[in-house]
Symmetry: C3
Subunit: 493 residues, 3 copies
């Protein structure tokens, strides 16, 4: 800490560039944004303060595009058509974009303002990132649930209110609010505009659009301009901080136990330990992100999507906002592990049973919709480049090679539980009409959604307790025994 | 980080006031406290070091009362009767107060010293805070458990040791030590003085009071002077740091999963994500606490009790140490959600069944003891003022409006499980004599204490996984099925 | 924060020694290590960067041995036989040691290099630490599992893949990869050398040893030179940071819920709360570690093994790398609580039933293998010295005294569940041939491995929720009822 601070002091005193001392070229605010801030700094001081601390407040599109290729944070090639390209990226510069396509656009003190800034708006300066993202499972996360009848049934079954009458459970039907607060909170809601509403404040009565299914910043949000996704899922407004996106807490909002315990396992891993211990020594703001200089230890984004170089400026990995680009196999098995899907639209899959799932309930893989061995090898190779920045080839190959075996093992454990379920259905211990609503069936969901996922992630990211006692082999083994005994005592045959 | 440090450096070099450079008015230590420190700096170096880094060590009552109203950290109006008002707030200044009311007062090297500094002692300088606190459920947390026969039975049932004999569970009776280590650890024990004991150290034999049910810093602790509460629950001795109290870890000591998962849900929320990412950029020490300047993102205390202003010094929310002041509904349902209680003394409630609970077991609300719609609206309005510092009115109303629906939904889920319990009692699957001791009854407790609470907090504070898979709808649904099957296999009719 | 930074600035500007400004004696790199770094800074920039920020990079053995006794970080007495004692502790200085005993030694660009640096290599400069560690349960952690047939059966049962056929569970046999990813990930694998492999990179084809059961940094790892342990378990390569080892995240890699929830309980304790709030104010790098100056609040290593002094340089506790040195009782009960074992080799124990366990299944203690009351008192006394640095004698004795009662209580709860298990075996609800593989038996494991451990740790380290609802009395009570009902419905007699 002491040493870090010393170097920061010295560098801050000597430096004449960078974002520590005022940049020689002063970036002014546009007249429009200045007008926004005049009111909003007292009405909504939090977001104005947040923006003032952001890089947007001290950058213009024109200054950003002049950076060297590796240092560049925008990917637009031609800025002549961008309004206010020479002023700071302020309120108006983002909230006024593509007004005609925005159902949430409204007249606000003489300006046409959108409530929600969408990926399509961010695309004005960041087209490569938005295009990559659009291909991902994340961008399609709402459709992947809502347009998939199997998952839809699962979602509706779990979130309906229940009543108990004459020894039977009565389901209360689709519960949109509960779905919005659970599954779609991460997957993204479809934001709609339901007329206008009046807000009363010191400035008088102000008419604004009334949004529904809002607030939400799920990764596959359907926006009022029809675009998909929410950049603020990871770059929270109004700081839009690359630092926040690079820290594991961001991913941990959705990728956490019990269903996708990636964040929890990272935290208990050696990587997570060093991260928590040395977080203050690292530099989360520099672009490119230099291994051995900025990065003492990887975070989620280091391995999965950031642009990385070594100290000589050689690129180790290219930036990508399609988060499957360095992933060859899907360990968040549904219901078995399988190669990554060819596209982000998993609802378009048809397996051998005609269901929109990457595998059948007994494990047959929907090959046609999944990437082939060659593509798997290429993606594996990208991940290896990251690992070998710190680890030997032997280390890396052993570590990544473990995934094949743990996937086979957990798939066997899921299959064993499926066999118990099938016997339960056959013997009347549960009714297969809805495969998700009875105790035996819910235990089966535990087997793949919690236990298999945990064991696989524990190996992939080196957090042994999630493989052992915490939703790991212990629970997975116990669950099969529990299901077996349940079938025994409930069987009618 | 770099920028933050740069500004800290510049401001530290230029500043001639504030707590960075030595204050122009030097605060001396009293002769009494100097004598304490002469020995204790080598005998108990930890607490002396802690105090030396505290604001108490560099403030006197006289200097503290001269601050501007919004900057003031003490609320006493008249200090002429306070001993040593001109010297630092040291050991003696706190440990010597109200000696005659302290059963734990003892002669110590010529001074009359209290072991425990109580809220009534802190009240010497902080009367408003102590008065507000005294009205809260926190201050009454010991009584709310121990003077409520229903909760008392629950507590005794869970914490008694068990034996197994002739197929039956034998309960070992009230287990005070276990209760002190579990429920009363947060709720507060009753500290008693059990004579004197001799401590042998380098200074010879020292006679000190022997306290029992100690150590404890539960929020409703009964102190040796008869006062209730423990300021060190949130402002840990001997730094008494406002920074610590404002950080979420403090609340997380007691408000955590599985029963009150507020802290855990905060951590997985967008707010928590930004907090963990930007904690170092925030200023947790300034009074008042300025949104957009000191505060990048809210912590527990931002929304629930801190004094907040905008950058123009306009008050957004007044400080309160009654933590229900901005709460209109109680989502920690016992056993259903309900309006906040009128007073902090929940043990005085009588519901329609004559039990000291805010609702009956089937959900009827004890209206007379709960705040009315008008009071609810006023408290809701206070909370809205905080939210709208960063969010739009539409955003805020939608978000806070969700609570109504999720409370109704979870109350239905609790009622369904209660119906299964009633059927189980009726059919002999469990014996209702003690409603808390058998498997079916313990599963029912899971339904309201873990699952309903989690789902409600998940909506309130935007942590979707606690609403979905982690003690959420998934577990709540499974639990009803589990109870149903248990009744089926255990029924004697 | 502000104040801390101010003092760091001032001290950095004034100081002419310490590790802030360049040391007057410049430490050079050896010619051999320079050659390593010439390639590896671009090939594996992460580990080179890590090392450059380490104390090793700016220290030589000769400079380290000149420190005062309390400040010394090496324990070797005589350095004349150490190669390169005057240059920085670089790559070659560690990876070339004791080459002839290393099965993983290989020819690498003209040097004889070991892949794995083992405790026996670290012993060159740190003999006292390695000797202490060798006596510990940690160093023997692999053998304590693999050479204990009872634990071995447990491990093999849990980690075998399962199939379900004709109503029966079929176990797939020993699963070495799963064991390596779970139990042995913390306990340590046995690393073997399986010939050589070719690595292709910019420098051409490079022949390196192919290690198996690798990567692993478990505490009881068996290394290719036959030594036991892995210093990088706590001092991660290549920073070997004392700061990391002193922070609780390190211990939390293995000592976490549900089986050993020490880290989780620390986090929810008052200690953990203050730590998380004040982490940035503490100094984790200084040796000795001064209470009240460097340490605001204890971490795991403060209480359990660090060298501590007060501000006058008086030693409060001596450093030890045998982590049982300040522990008198073992609360990680197997299967009951018991005095600490005499040696770290628990597999050598024989209890009254002839099993290698410190107690029998019904709680009889294997006295001969456990420390006696006198030794218990001495170790308790060491722990008390740490506590009383901040707490009174009364406080300390009460707090540590609670352990006796909670151990008795939890042992009773385990015994009750054991009695249910025995009845279940007797009535045919489970088959005792393998005591670990059926639902009833797995619930019994929950009772001691999860619930008893949690309740005990919750008292020891003051985290009440793990004693109450989170794997505490609630679950422990429910589990007995669950086991009882399971016996009822599965009994064949």
């Amino acid at each position: 800490m002491k040493r870090t601070i010393f170097f920061l002091i010295i560098s801050s005193l000597l430096s004449t560039s960078g974002n520590i001392l005022p940049q020689s070229e002063e970036i002014k605010l546009s007249a429009q944004s200045q007008e926004c801030i005049d009111c909003h700094s007292s009405v909504t001081p939090g977001i104005v303060g947040d923006w003032k601390k952001s890089l947007h407040s001290e950058s213009s599109v024109a200054s950003a595009i002049r950076k060297n290729l590796l240092e560049k944070r925008i990917s637009v090639k031609e800025i002549s058509k961008i309004e206010n390209a020479g002023t700071a990226v302020g309120c108006y510069e983002c909230h006024s974009l593509n007004a005609t396509s925005h159902a949430d656009n409204f007249e606000h003190f003489g300006y046409k303002i959108n409530v929600v800034v969408s990926p399509n708006d961010c695309k004005t300066c960041h087209p490569d990132e938005v295009d990559q993202y659009s291909e991902s499972k994340k961008a399609n996360a709402n459709f992947n649930l809502t347009k998939n009848p199997v998952y839809n049934l699962l979602v509706e079954t779990l979130t309906s209110t229940k009543d108990f009458l004459d020894g039977k459970t009565i389901h209360g039907g689709r519960n949109d609010s509960a779905i919005g607060e659970t599954c779609l909170n991460c997957h993204g809601t479809e934001i709609k505009v339901d007329g206008m509403m009046t807000v009363k404040n010191a400035l008088g009565d102000i008419e604004v659009p009334r949004l529904t299914n809002w607030p939400n910043q799920g990764v596959g949000r359907i926006n009022p301009d029809g675009s998909k996704g929410s950049c603020t899922s990871c770059h929270p407004r109004h700081s839009f901080s690359i630092e926040t996106a690079r820290k594991p807490y961001t991913c941990g909002q959705c990728h956490l136990e019990p269903d996708v315990p990636a964040y929890n396992i990272y935290k208990e891993s050696k990587h997570g330990n060093i991260y928590e211990s040395k977080e203050e020594e690292m530099n989360f703001k520099s672009v490119p992100w230099v291994i051995g200089k900025d990065i003492n230890v990887p975070t989620c984004s280091t391995c999965h999507n950031s642009l990385l170089t070594n100290g000589d400026g050689e690129v180790i990995a290219q930036r990508s906002h399609n988060f499957a680009d360095r992933l060859w196999v899907r360990i968040f098995g549904l219901v078995y592990s399988h190669p990554q899907t060819k596209t982000g639209k998993t609802f378009e899959i048809k397996n051998a049973d005609g269901l929109p799932l990457p595998t059948t309930f007994t494990g047959k893989i929907a090959t046609e919709y999944l990437i082939d061995a060659k593509e798997q090898k290429e993606r594996l190779s990208k991940m290896k480049s990251v690992c070998t920045s710190c680890h030997s080839t032997n280390w890396t190959e052993n570590q990544l090679g473990k995934l094949q075996k743990v996937n086979e093992d957990t798939d066997k454990m899921v299959l064993a539980s499926t066999k118990v379920l099938l016997e339960g259905w056959e013997k009347g211990a549960a009714d297969k009409t809805n495969p998700f609503d009875e105790e035996l069936e819910l235990l089966w969901q535990n087997q793949w959604l919690f236990y298999a996922n945990s064991i696989r992630h524990a190996t992939a990211m080196m957090g042994p307790d999630y493989g052992a006692f915490k939703n790991g082999w212990f629970e997975s083994t116990k669950n099969i025994e529990k299901m077996k005994n349940l079938v025994k005592v409930l069987s009618k045959k």
